[in-house]
Symmetry: C2
Subunit: 408 residues, 2 copies
């Protein structure tokens, strides 16, 4: 596919993240006004409520105060007709309507949908091998179940925030490998995880086949699962990560739809072990999405979502196997996305190899883990012929720990 041109001329540049081919969904406000649904186009936002008479969707869904949940609930057919209508409205052949646009620089972006529940997976083989090697040695790096099921855990919905939200370094219970007893202090190994988040757009009740799981995914956001590695190391046996992951999880403000990413579908890598039939790939359900981590504006990692061992559809299908009900607005983190090379790793834990090999920053300085005041930014885009499907930044700045965490 090549660039589709819009009467919003800023959308027609090859380096614009939001061309007509993209049309991602967000929530914005202007000057402290009410939150409204919007669609990014070029350097503008289409105010959806202002054109609701031109859209084939009940206007109630377009004014859902939670964001895009009510539109998702309408189902796949409505998603497609809405996308067609928006494409027609913004196409270069349509009558320009600058009166329904808001400049992105004038807008504040909010959570694009209400997160119903948050699940985080662990589906990058390179990441699993890296972390497993550091924690359990190279011979036991990959747990025996890893090649058979997408390993995941339930995260904490209340801690999901939109890009731009400052993150406060947490306190926690810490115990070094040599200490006799744990102590209470600010996390010293605070980290990021570069991920995508898949958004479940249709409910299910009981196990669903892989194709249905794929069809139920409405879209994707970038996701940074901030992680306190020292809290995690002490708490995670035997029931998994808990408080180490609940300080915050940041997502990018625009939902890039599965429809917009369709030209970039690709297959999962070759299977090391054949999957059981209900998880076996039936088509290309990964996506070719270039990803980047920036630390204070400097790139420190570059990788691609196409390196993942399990697709989001496989994760969702597995999630339903036990009869677990899935609902509109469920957010599934892919897990940290790491390629096989050190510079392709999606966490500082891996980039600095457990803190033993600090990374060097081009302006001088090194990093083992995040330092107070650091701004971490995730970027992502699929690259087509003369256009790209961008996600918008997923960014957060780490504030220092409070002197007294109970003293607020």
């Amino acid at each position: 596919m090549s660039l589709r041109k819009s009467w919003v001329t800023s959308a027609n540049h090859a380096d614009c993240p939001f061309p007509l081919n993209n049309l991602p969904y967000g929530v914005f406000s202007v000057a402290g006004g009410p939150r409204r649904l919007g669609v990014a186009i070029g350097d503008q936002i289409l105010d959806v409520a202002a054109v609701s008479d031109r859209l084939p969707v009940d206007s109630g869904a377009l004014t859902d105060p939670r964001g895009w949940n009510a539109v998702m609930a309408l189902g796949q057919e409505a998603w497609a007709t809405l996308r067609s209508a928006l494409t027609a409205l913004l196409s270069e052949t349509a009558e320009p309507r600058p009166d329904v646009l808001v400049k992105q620089t004038d807008a504040t972006l909010h959570m694009p949908f209400a997160v119903t529940e948050f699940t985080d997976f662990y589906a990058s083989k390179s990441h699993a091998i890296n972390v497993g090697t550091m924690f359990r040695g190279a011979e036991n790096a990959l747990p025996p179940n890893w090649l058979h099921i997408p390993i995941g855990y339930n995260g904490r919905t209340s801690s999901v925030v939109v890009s731009g939200t400052d993150i406060r370094r947490p306190w926690g219970q810490l115990k070094g490998p040599d200490g006799d007893a744990p102590r209470w202090g600010p996390s010293e190994r605070f980290d990021i995880e570069l991920e995508l988040g898949a958004i479940v757009g249709q409910p299910s009740q009981g196990p669903i086949p892989l194709d249905q799981a794929d069809a139920n995914i409405f879209g994707f956001v970038l996701l940074n699962d901030w992680s306190a590695r020292d809290i995690q190391a002490w708490e995670y046996q035997p029931l998994g990560p808990f408080q180490s992951k609940t300080t915050a999880t940041s997502i990018s403000p625009w939902i890039v739809t599965a429809a917009a990413l369709a030209p970039f579908r690709c297959n999962t890598p070759p299977r090391d072990k054949e999957l059981l039939p209900h998880l076996r790939d039936t088509g290309p359900m990964l996506f070719d999405i270039d990803l980047e981590v920036m630390l204070n504006g400097t790139p420190i990692s570059k990788t691609n979502y196409n390196t993942m061992y399990y697709s989001a559809a496989q994760q969702l299908a597995h999630h339903t196997t036990s009869g677990c009900p899935m609902r509109v607005g469920d957010l599934l983190g892919t897990g940290t996305i790491s390629g096989p090379e050190r510079g392709q790793c999606g966490s500082l834990l891996e980039l600095s190899w457990g803190g033993d090999q600090p990374i060097e920053l081009p302006n001088g300085g090194t990093r083992r883990f995040i330092e107070d005041g650091d701004t971490l930014t995730l970027r992502g885009a699929s690259h087509g012929d003369g256009y790209q499907i961008g996600f918008g930044d997923c960014s957060g700045t780490l504030l220092p720990a409070l002197d007294d965490p109970f003293g607020r």
Copy 2:
């Protein structure tokens, strides 16, 4: 404290679970009508909306379609004044109002509140030692962190159901210790976990002290965390339980308030290791609650909540340490409640010692794990002077697995 008498005479018997001293909160409907908030008194339900003009609470909160969430959101002072007003209305010295009562036998009970998020802990030392011994041997039974923090994991809110809901035996990925590869089949080791669920009634943002955590707990329900042990054994390394726990979690239909349980407060057992200051007990925050598990009407286990190592307040305080926001309607499972004797264990896994020592049922027959058609019921009550504070049954019947789990 002794029995407080009500003009609802069925509430005045020593063996009634719902005397005036209790006043638990639920949601009921009659003959398919709308859901309404109700208070159990004797064998009746007080229709709260019908007496809203006599209650010191905004009537909007008393008609929250989600249940008691809006009342919880009003805060501790409102909880106390509402309880006083209800006590006065139903006291034997008040004018009888049989017109605002509905017989419990005429009512259907629903979820008493909307569960915002569900966290499950692992706070019974006997349970942790039993399970740890089976899985890792007696010498490594208790993980090193266990005596320092309440270990927990995030569960799946969408799978929480009210007592009386049938439970479908799940399919899952299973691998026996001797198998080369996993297979896909119905769980063969389906189990229960006898727990209490603490309901967070006030939000918090950031770490809170133990006393505030205790004050923020609105009440308790019985909780059965149905668990597929064979799915769990294969999936849980390294990120904890996931699909093994998401088939269903049943709760009892009445919220027994912390206020009603106040006369039964007791201390946690002696500490094996001194806790860090923010988790150190500041008062009696456990409760003396007798608990029982029935299998098809036969008692198979009797224990007490006062055996737990960590209180719900300690669990909630720990939950907030990382800055994790807590919200009204968060449900915190205590973890399986097991006493030190075999007959005091809260799971079949422990009662049958991993299935190796089937329990014998008085009517003949044995059980290792739950069989199709079995009804499991949890009961609980605190016993005062001539009265009790009962919870109402938490019950569920296991339906056989579907022949084709995708064939619905």
